[in-house]
Symmetry: C2
Subunit: 203 residues, 2 copies
Amino acid sequence: MKLYNSNSAPNPRRVRIFLAEKGLSIPRIEVDLAKLEHKTAEFSAVNLFQVIPALELDDGTVIGESIAICRYIEELYPEPNMFGATPLERATVEMWQRRVEWHLLLPIAQVFRHTHPHMAKLEEPQIADWAAANRPRALRNMTIFDDVLGDRPFVAGGRFTVADITGLIALDFTRPARIAIPPELVNLSRWHEALRARPSAAA
Amino acid sequence: MKLYNSNSAPNPRRVRIFLAEKGLSIPRIEVDLAKLEHKTAEFSAVNLFQVIPALELDDGTVIGESIAICRYIEELYPEPNMFGATPLERATVEMWQRRVEWHLLLPIAQVFRHTHPHMAKLEEPQIADWAAANRPRALRNMTIFDDVLGDRPFVAGGRFTVADITGLIALDFTRPARIAIPPELVNLSRWHEALRARPSAAA
């Protein structure tokens, strides 16, 4: 297997953190987004949607989408379990993974994509009004997650799951998006710090 | 179990179609989005993110997010299989479900949400420039899916899966979004017609 990766993008980091939590290592092929290498014919043959990460299996089969890659790896290497161990837990983890992705990562990413000068070539056109609409959404949803995290250490419950990886990616993304996490959201900040303190966060 | 539903929104329809394909029926509680019933304290106690669908189990546990609900039902009622039967097929189905969701449903939904008068109360502010940026994205991605569907009857391969349900939702959503599916995309249109012809499409 080999992993098409970029260290400057959030989605490949989800897979790198997941692999680190599993104690796994997969050879990487770097794709330089600043040089638009993901837009080349060569990379389009790997992933026709021109996005990373992508996992190429030894027979040439390619799995795209970070969460699909992580789920595949979970099936090959079940421990530690990060997608849930029972039908209800699997549904719960998927629910929280999706909630974090759609209600936290997406609005934060939209602020970043539509304001940051580095994105001018990649997000055309950048729309300041759309960034401005997403900023209060991101902050409002942070408040909801802060409430949720008042009674549990991790977003899906008592233990670390793939939903927390999406959470770390989202909250770390507030920095380039220039969104300050309100200091009164103490549960959210405690969660963020706990995720950042795990060795996998450096992956 | 009971399903919080609205017949006027695309995401609950994903679950209704999934249930119909399984030959299942779950009692429904209607949530009137036009009356903002999803924003009430009563419904927020069911789903703090104020979105439908939501599946309430007999013990009061609530599963939100259409795909998490479908996956839970798949585990309780495995046949016909719609999430994949092997690790590789499950990863492939999830990849395609996510690709359809992010690259087709999302841009089409953004055009709808930011142009349709019915959304004025629900999507504030409506940003015409953001709708205009998503329209060509939706059309470009339709072209990619048309290519993909040149060598297969269903989007994830040889058989109907949950990824096709997301596809039907996305393509049906072009109508209120007022995006015409280009007639030269014959594979995409053939797929759309095949999905619409299934009895589950009426669910």
